[in-house]
């Protein structure tokens, strides 16, 4: 199994605050890496550094063995990585179909092919009837599904999901879990941030726990669940 994505010594500071402190992690194709930690632990910052939104102050990011540290986000995206956001960032005044077409605008396929693929994606997410609506007309949960579909359009080998279940009702959660299982089943490397420990433990092959920018534990689901450092970080003493 090849390493799809890797960070070495990744560090990010905001003024005096150290958001990420020398973080080393890796995920291979077909693996789902769960990332847990309390608010402010650095999880979203990690994703932002990986995809190029933030420039790290130290360390490196490797995608399929290639160093992408410091590259602008659109270059990193083309290396084969997609993501969703904690608070949905859909293109509000564009139709659902157009939202899905954005990541594949520079693909050589014809408009008709891409539109067909987008419609297929929307059908899988059960949003097909709303395909001509503006994204801002969707509910929060629907927007999260839209983001997932948008992320999958260019069929990236690496996907990052930032709190996909936050604020989503249980039936939709179950639906999302099935979609995520499909992703790793298809051979993608999945990075998954969530506070929903049940879902994390169900979906992840490995888990990494962050606290105050540092990795305090990593291993299989069983190791993490009973790890005293993790329990302390979540519950305090």
């Amino acid at each position: 199994m090849s390493i799809a994505i890797e960070t070495r010594g990744l560090t990010k500071r905001f003024g005096g605050l150290v958001a990420l402190d020398s973080v080393n992690l890796q995920a291979a194709a077909g693996e789902t890496l769960g990332i847990i930690g309390v608010n402010g632990a650095g999880k979203t910052t990690l994703m932002n550094c990986i995809c190029g939104l933030y420039r790290p102050d130290g360390g490196d990011v490797f995608i399929s063995g290639e160093r992408v540290t410091g590259q602008p986000p659109h270059v990193v995206a083309h290396k084969g990585i997609g993501r969703t956001f904690q608070v949905p960032r859909v293109f509000r005044k564009m139709s659902l179909i157009d939202n899905l077409l954005v990541p594949v605008l520079d693909h050589h396929a014809s408009d008709a092919e891409l539109t067909e693929r987008a419609e297929g994606m929307l059908a899988r997410m059960q949003l097909i009837d709303l395909r001509h609506n503006y994204a801002e007309e969707l509910s929060g949960g629907q927007q999260k599904l839209l983001e997932m579909a948008r992320m999958l359009m260019p069929d990236p080998p690496i996907v990052m999901l930032d709190e996909p279940f936050a604020g989503v009702h249980p039936v939709l959660c179950k639906f999302m879990i099935e979609r995520i299982e499909e992703m790793s089943g298809a051979g993608k490397a999945v990075l998954l941030i969530s506070h929903d420990l049940t879902s994390i433990y169900r979906l992840s092959t490995r888990v990494v726990a962050l606290n105050q920018g540092k990795i305090i534990a990593e291993g299989g689901v069983g190791d993490i669940r009973d790890n005293p450092a993790v329990i302390e970080a979540y519950l305090g003493t």
């Binding site: 995809c51 190029g52 939104l53 602008p72 986000p73 659109h74 995206a77 083309h78 997609g82 993501r83 956001f85 960032r89 859909v90 293109f91 509000r92 005044k93 564009m94 139709s95 157009d98 939202n99 077409l101 954005v102 990541p103 605008l105 520079d106 008709a112 539109t115 067909e116 419609e119 097909i128 395909r131 001509h132 609506n133 503006y134 007309e137 948008r150 260019p154």
Partner: protein, 320 residues
């Protein structure tokens, strides 16, 4: 063929029928103005404003900027044509494309401002237009005519320049129609809605913004050139008049930013209104423009077309 691609085909049919109807009506109407003896001047300026408002829409409605110094492109186009015709003995037809190029060059020069957020961009745009005006006013009189401006000589041909303006308008509208359906158009709108997210989805945001900006700069520059030819005179007061930006912005907003038909409708409605008011109350012209703007923002912020589409969102796919 799937059911939904059949539906898409019929939506496209309606869309393009509307395009043909509106485009055809515009072309036939304007083409016959000189022939039927209608007011050439009025219709010349109507075409000018339709073009200006539509081009402005590319940078505002499609891209999300408010260039309050938009007149800079118009002015540079006017002066380029005037200087080439008067000082370098260019035939007008050769000078006009150079005006367009001048607009593109200025856009490239101003490109660093595209990084700025809403307010800052607007203010800097205004300041840069001011700098342009001052620079040209202070250039040697042999080149730009100092405070008296330049006269193009007796090369004015009202009917010829009328039809050239019409050609410019048709090309502009055609380009903007293409843009609204094209991949560049989608990239622009995604950038407008959320630039960072667009970038993370693979859109080369700086490059896309630059292309949109250059497109939006080309047409007002050519308009400036054609108008210089039509009126036969160019000076910094009129070529860089802030009222040009004001009218462009207001006409575009009145129709509705973000659609192709919006600025056309807005320009037609407002120019017609302007003509009506001006005939009856020549002194109140500026006042009515100001009050109309405030009223528009308060009561019709999405413009005519925008407000209709808000009520009937299902019509969005059919309306160009």
């Amino acid at each position: 063929m799937t059911a939904s691609s059949r539906a898409q085909d019929s939506a496209d049919r309606i869309y393009f029928t509307l395009v043909a109807l509106i485009g055809g009506a515009l072309m036939i109407y304007f083409a016959s103005v000189p022939v039927l003896g209608l007011n050439v001047a009025f219709h010349f300026y109507l075409m000018l404003w339709i073009t200006m408002a539509s081009a402005f829409n590319v940078s505002s409605g499609f891209s999300g900027y408010l260039p309050f110094g938009y007149v800079a492109f118009y002015g540079i186009g006017a002066f380029t044509t005037a200087i080439l015709v008067k000082k370098a003995a260019f035939p007008v037809f050769l000078a006009l494309p150079f005006s367009g190029v001048a607009g593109l060059v200025l856009a490239l020069l101003f490109a660093p401002t595209l990084r700025l957020s809403g307010i800052y961009f607007g203010i800097v745009s205004l300041a840069l237009a001011g700098i342009c005006r001052l620079v040209i006013t202070n250039m040697p009189e042999e080149i730009t005519g100092g405070s008296f401006g330049l006269q193009l000589g007796s090369r004015a041909h009202p009917v010829q320049s009328f039809y050239v303006m019409m050609a410019v308008m048709v090309v502009a509208l055609g380009t903007i129609l293409w843009l609204s359906r094209s991949r560049l158009g989608k990239a622009l709108r995604a950038t407008r809605d959320d630039a960072d997210a667009a970038e993370m989805m693979g859109v080369n945001v700086p490059r896309v913004r630059l292309y949109g900006w250059m497109l939006a700069a080309f047409f007002p520059a050519v308009c400036g050139g054609v108008e210089a030819w039509y009126t036969n005179v160019v000076d910094t007061e009129t070529a860089f008049n802030t009222l040009i930006t004001a009218k462009t912005v207001i006409y575009a907003v009145a129709g509705g930013l973000g659609t192709v038909t919006g600025p056309i409708l807005g320009a037609v409605a407002m120019v017609w209104l302007d003509e009506l008011i001006w005939r009856q109350f020549p002194l109140l012209n500026l006042l009515i423009l100001g009050v109309a703007t405030v009223a528009l923002v308060l009561f019709l912020p999405r413009g005519i077309v925008g407000s209709i589409l808000r009520r009937k969102p299902q019509w969005r796919r059919f309306v160009p």
